[in-house]
């Protein structure tokens, strides 16, 4: 009833091809953005920013990058943590070694370095497919883990093995308080979200999906698998690298290689799969789900006033997390994005059943 498209006829291809063709969707997105940019900074408690919103924004960016590689181009990668690490450490080195380096430049250059490493480790994907590729990407993960631990140059010869940044400023505005950090990350996410959506709607996006769906046929049409796969690795690693840099600089402040371990890679992969492969919205949904879930699970005992000792609580969290993953995969393997679009379909018909 509310969601009908009656009267919304498109008379040009430009109108037909827009991201949100239905007017109600455009209004909804506008409201959401307004809420995120204006309302949230005013009302949200500090804890919410630190524990949920900022991690969500940064990990959503990383999930977006990973979804492009895995969901749109079909190349499984278990080494995402490594690319985040490259982004973080590269940005750190640019920031610390070059006097007066602007923050955004460091972050973006971190992304560029991650792109270079990503393309390098993407070269195997030209020969290796499927599960074999997944395990090959672990080589990236473990090698990078080791490199940032053992090669002292990367950590600026830090004795403790960890690095830190402080006093972040952008165009003279400082990025210190939670609200400032939140808006900074939100800006990045919005920009990259738009870029990702544009790429995915364009002919490169179709090339990626063609390679994913049937690479032999794609070649016959004239698509070059080398260009398609490496561009997917490049774009994906850039976003993941910038996210890594943001994670280290803005969220953590100081970090060691363990922040980007294989657990991070799995976490991102969960986000992308549960959120929905091959869907921009899916990356956001997945990130939200995976960021919020452990917090909910951790706090459940307190909300229900059940005293549990911490070790048991953490074991239970593992169990519930694992079960939820399996449950989700059984019920909706295409992720929350599919649930969302099915819900919207039903909403268009509401209050009629069909």
């Amino acid at each position: 009833m509310l969601y009908r498209e009656n009267g919304q006829f498109k008379t040009t291809y430009r109108a037909d091809q827009q991201v949100f063709p239905i007017a109600q969707d455009r209004i909804a997105i506008g409201l959401l953005l307004a809420f995120a940019i204006v309302v949230v900074p005013l009302v949200a408690p500090e804890y919410l920013f630190r524990a949920i919103l900022i991690p969500f924004l940064i990990l959503a960016l990383a999930a977006l990058g990973l979804n492009i590689l895995v969901g749109y181009c079909g190349q499984i990668s278990l080494g995402t943590g490594a690319f985040m690490a490259v982004g973080a450490y590269a940005a750190y080195n640019f920031q610390v070694r070059i006097e007066g380096m602007p923050l955004i430049a460091s972050l973006l250059l971190g992304g560029v370095c991650a792109t270079a490493v990503g393309v390098l480790f993407g070269i195997p994907s030209l020969r290796i497919k499927g599960l074999y590729l997944a395990v090959a990407t672990l080589a990236a993960q473990f090698f990078v883990d080791w490199a940032f631990l053992r090669v002292k140059w990367f950590t600026n010869e830090s004795s403790s093995g960890s690095v830190s940044v402080a006093g972040l400023k952008v165009f003279g505005l400082s990025i210190e308080s939670p609200v400032q950090k939140y808006l900074f990350c939100l800006a990045f996410l919005i920009v990259f979200g738009v870029i990702a959506k544009n790429l995915v709607r364009g002919h490169i996006g179709r090339e990626w999906m063609a390679i994913r769906d049937m690479d032999v046929a794609a070649e016959v049409i004239g698509i070059r698998p080398v260009y398609a796969k490496l561009s997917a690795f490049a774009v994906s690693s850039f976003m993941v690298g910038v996210a890594g840099a943001l994670w280290g600089f803005v969220h953590l402040g100081s970090w060691e290689p363990a922040a980007f371990s294989i657990d991070r890679s799995f976490q991102l992969l969960f986000m992308v799969i549960i959120g929905g492969l091959g869907s921009i919205m899916g990356s956001f949904f997945g990130a939200a789900f995976i960021v919020v879930l452990p917090i909910v699970l951790d706090n459940l005992p307190y909300w229900f006033d059940i005293p549990i000792d911490t070790a048991l609580a953490s074991h239970l969290t593992f169990m519930i997390f694992g079960s939820l993953i399996v449950f989700f995969l059984i019920v909706e393997p295409h992720g929350i994005a599919r649930l969302w679009s099915t819900g919207k379909e039903k909403l268009r018909l509401w209050p009629f059943p069909h």
């Binding site: 599960l131 080589a139 519930i320």
Partner: protein
């Protein structure tokens, strides 16, 4: 020279142990087309069960014999693994028939998290001991060829022999029995196998039980060496390159892969490691596999993938 031989032998035996864990992967993949990330968690779970049952049995049933305790522990652990296999089939695999590989992989990751949490909830999260009477003292071999002989760890030697025996058994099982044939059919195509009357659920319970058995044996051996603790589940991450190197579908491949990686890791750590910072064991196997895959994308013994249009 003697030292090199020692390193190589030590590597071979570690490699054998990796193969033991890798076998579990290969079994499940060969028979159900699922890449079971939870294998490591299964090793931990099985080892925990064994350790605790072997501890509880004499305490609750009031006897002293170590042998009997271990036996009961083994049987108990085996029952637990079969139950786990049955539950996994009912609750997870049965509902995900014919989904894409990555979905199944993710499901096994979910099972991993669950088993890790569950195992530690029931069996506790301290470090436990498994002692099945493997002699732990070293022995000197080849004393006539090398002065002073070559130092070999007896425990590792026994472990290697046990692993070799298991591999032979399993190879024969797959090749020569009708159940083995059915397992291979299921690995090829779930739906096709189902349509010719192969009972998928029963097959999967069998496979996961056998893999559980492999996990138990691996768990006992590793646990006897390292003690049973959470880090045991990380052994799976060490075994992954072995599985891929040998080819996902090859049982002998798991052995050869294990030996190559075991030796490679040890030798490179000793001879190359010190000059580039040490600790390269963590990635050596993976990088080696990466290079092999570039030349042979299906692993050393895996089946070649031909795309037909």
């Amino acid at each position: 020279m003697g030292f090199l031989i020692e390193t190589v032998i030590s590597g071979l035996m570690t490699g054998m142990l990796y193969s033991l864990v890798a076998l579990g992967f290969v079994l499940i993949f060969k028979a159900s087309g699922v890449f079971n990330f939870a294998q490591g968690a299964m090793v931990l779970f099985a080892a925990l069960a064994m350790a605790r049952f072997a501890e509880w049995a004499p305490a609750h049933l009031g006897f002293d014999s170590k042998l009997l305790a271990n036996l009961l522990g083994f049987v108990g652990a085996m029952l637990v693994m079969v139950a786990a296999a049955w539950l996994i089939e009912r609750l997870v695999l049965g509902k995900l028939v014919n989904q894409e590989g990555i979905t199944l992989l993710m499901a096994t990751l979910g099972i991993t998290y669950f088993l890790e949490g569950f195992g530690q909830t029931i069996f506790g999260n301290d470090i436990y001991n498994i002692d099945i009477g493997l002699p732990k003292d070293p022995v000197f071999l080849f004393e006539s060829v090398f002065q002073g002989g070559v130092l070999v760890n007896k425990e590792d030697l026994y472990a290697a022999l046990i692993a070799a025996a298991m591999v032979t058994l399993l190879s024969m099982f797959f090749q020569y029995t009708s159940t083995g044939r059915a397992l291979r059919a299921v690995a090829d195509d779930h739906q096709a196998a189902q349509s010719i009357g192969i009972p998928l659920n029963r097959i999967w319970v069998i496979v996961w039980s056998v893999a559980g058995f492999t996990a138990l044996v691996a768990g006992i051996i590793w646990g006897s060496k390292l003690g049973v603790q959470f880090s045991l589940s990380l052994v799976a991450l060490k075994a992954l390159p072995v599985v891929i190197l040998g080819g996902l579908t090859s049982v002998p491949g798991a052995i050869v892969g294990g030996l190559i990686i075991g030796v490679g890791e040890k030798v490179s750590e000793v001879y190359i490691g010190p000059s580039i910072g040490g600790g390269i064991e963590i990635w050596f196997g993976y990088v080696l596999v990466l290079f092999v895959l570039l030349v042979r994308p299906q692993g050393l013994f895996g089946e070649k993938i031909i795309d037909r249009v």
